[in-house]
């Protein structure tokens, strides 16, 4: 039973995909690390969610079930 060896094109694609995967992993780890730091330094959760979420004063009404 023999398999045909991978075409050079597939090796190139694999390399690109692994590179992209690695970059995404680094990005996730960075965001996770920054979040931990912000939590440890006492940054309020509202501030981390951005201004859009903190602009509306909380009235307690219309917040869903």
């Amino acid at each position: 039973m023999s398999f045909r060896p991978d075409h050079e094109l597939h090796r190139r694609r694999l390399g690109r995909n692994l590179g992209l995967g690695g970059a995404l992993l680094v990005f996730v780890l960075l965001v996770f690390g920054m979040t931990i730091e912000k939590v440890r330094n006492g940054v309020p959760a509202e501030a981390m969610l951005g201004e859009a979420n903190t602009a509306q004063p909380s009235t307690g009404a219309g917040t869903g079930p």
Partner: protein, 310 residues
């Protein structure tokens, strides 16, 4: 099936082609100077945020490099030094380089904003615009002062690093900017002296082509003289200290000696010894910048321990 078999495999870029688009060698300088700007600032970021800031600054610089390679593919194809780059070599399509650069630019700026502050992100956005649009699409092909004004783009990273930490821009950040800004022309003109055919073949109006090589030698000396007080001035501010002053004095004297030697030579002498002095000056210019910023960093470490500082 025939479509699959005749698929053109040459048009698919590899990972290293995309890495090359980011100009990794330039990026290493950006990483180093941005890191120094960030670490010598009076405010200290948490470690992961600092790492992220440096990474996003480097990514923004790399993105502007990709945009530069997209626009300059015609020039790069002519010059010996650049004809192997991914776009002129046909490994990456121009549209891919444009999309890659544009998406990464936006990503880097937004992420730097979220990780640090709007001042740093704004400066990064301006740097990308300045390098990709003002320098690459404008100055580079129009004026022999391209290197002088375009050098500003390479000078911004330490200022962005400082702004990422402090949220503002102080005199120290401006002096680090000025140091790289004044260093860039002698560095590139020395390169242009011994890569002479490249720029003239590509039609880039380098000073060597428009004003001659004698004038270029004089300009190198003039900028090296102007660079010295900027470097010494930085040593006298809060990021400086006795160590920076000592290192700066030695480096500037050596740099001036090299610039004087370049000024004193003519073309026949330079050609006779294969541009030995010009090449040595170019190599030393890299050491000059590295040691200057290294001294800022070492001085900050000394200051932190309360020894040998102003």
């Amino acid at each position: 099936m025939a479509d699959i078999l005749t698929h053109d495999t040459q048009t698919e870029a590899s990972l290293s082609d995309f890495v090359q688009l980011l100009k990794p060698r330039v990026m290493s300088l950006v990483v180093f100077t941005a890191m120094v700007g960030l670490l010598v600032a009076p405010v200290h970021l948490p470690p992961v945020t600092a790492l992220a800031a440096i990474l996003f600054i480097a990514l923004g610089a790399g993105a502007s490099g990709a945009l530069n390679m997209w626009w300059d593919a015609d020039i790069d194809a002519v010059m010996r030094r650049t004809r192997g780059r991914p776009v002129p070599a046909g490994r990456v399509q121009p549209g891919e380089a444009l999309a890659f650069g544009a998406v990464l630019s936006v990503f880097a700026v937004v992420m730097l904003w979220l990780a640090t502050n709007l001042v740093a992100a704004g400066l990064l956005a301006f740097t990308i615009f300045f390098y990709a649009v003002v320098y690459t699409m404008g100055l580079k092909r129009w004026t022999p002062q391209n290197i002088v004004i375009g050098g500003a783009a390479g000078a911004f990273p330490p200022m962005i690093g400082w702004a990422a930490a402090t949220g503002s821009v102080g005199i120290e950040a401006w002096l680090m900017f000025a140091l790289i800004f004044m260093w860039t022309p002698p560095h590139f003109w020395a390169l242009a002296l011994f890569m002479k055919d490249d720029y003239s073949n590509a039609g880039v109006p380098m000073l060597t082509v428009t004003h001659g090589r004698k004038a270029t030698r004089a300009h190198i000396l003039a900028y090296t003289i102007l660079l010295a007080p900027v470097a010494i001035g930085a040593a006298l501010t809060s990021i400086g200290g006795p160590l920076v002053l000592a290192v700066s004095a030695v480096l500037n004297l050596w740099f001036l000696k090299g610039a004087w030697a370049i000024r004193a030579r003519d073309e026949s002498e330079a050609e006779a010894d294969g541009y030995r002095v010009e090449k040595a000056f170019f190599r030393f210019s890299l050491i000059y910048l590295f040691l200057h910023f290294g001294a800022f960093l070492a001085q900050a470490a000394l200051r932190l321990n309360g020894i040998w500082s102003w």
